[in-house]
Symmetry: C2
Subunit: 118 residues, 2 copies
Amino acid sequence: MATTTDAPTRPELAVLTACCAPAQAAVADGNAQALADMFKALADPARVKIMAMLLNAEEVCACDISGGIGKSAATASHHLKILKDAGLATSEKRGTWVYYRAVPQRLNALVEALALSQ
Amino acid sequence: MATTTDAPTRPELAVLTACCAPAQAAVADGNAQALADMFKALADPARVKIMAMLLNAEEVCACDISGGIGKSAATASHHLKILKDAGLATSEKRGTWVYYRAVPQRLNALVEALALSQ
DNA sequence: GTATCGGTTCGACGTTCATCAAAACAGAAC
DNA sequence: GTTCTGTTTTGATGAACGTCGAACCGATAC
């Protein structure tokens, strides 16, 4: 076994650095799973494009998303459901159409978890 | 078809908001794929724990990571390779042991891509 | 009422992934 | 040289994922 070098104090770290003993995960199992689930929701090019569309337009009709990502309507609906389940997007039905929005607060949670980079 | 509401100008957006026409992805295919690949590298609880260990300790012996995530050495090596391939970690062999470090600059790229939340 | 259109869900298919046991590899100690 | 010890790679297996066509549900138009 080898001990690690001195751990630098990084008070700005929110989630990823809760404790410091080496040979032990610094995030609890639940936190790691929750973070991984959010990353997984973004771990597909189609969903990255969808989030970019939502963040650009504040509100996007579902009918525009299928063409925006170049996939079938069924596939687009599948990805939108994943983003909704992850809390990264919300939907609202108005008449015939469904409109999607991004949830910036959820993205903020990710930024805070990563806000340790240099 | 329905047009979206006015797109708010968000000059701080680096990657996700390059253009603005609705019904069209705001990120190029290559960018979306690159971002998705980085998110995918973090889309597993074991890898989230590993990154937290690396960010806490500045340098971690590979021998400590297996126990830290509660998986076999082979599995730990597998996850470390994924993090290395994504550019999120580097390794250095000194004598018998291998030491891993985080690459904060790569995490910064993700933060900038997400730095649009509220 | 029926017909049509937008969106979601279901079912199936092929691909990718996480995991571990076992084998292979690389140094260090003898 | 041989024998450990730590790490990576290989192979196999079961689970999860992305994709699309078809079926389904809601709301509008006729």
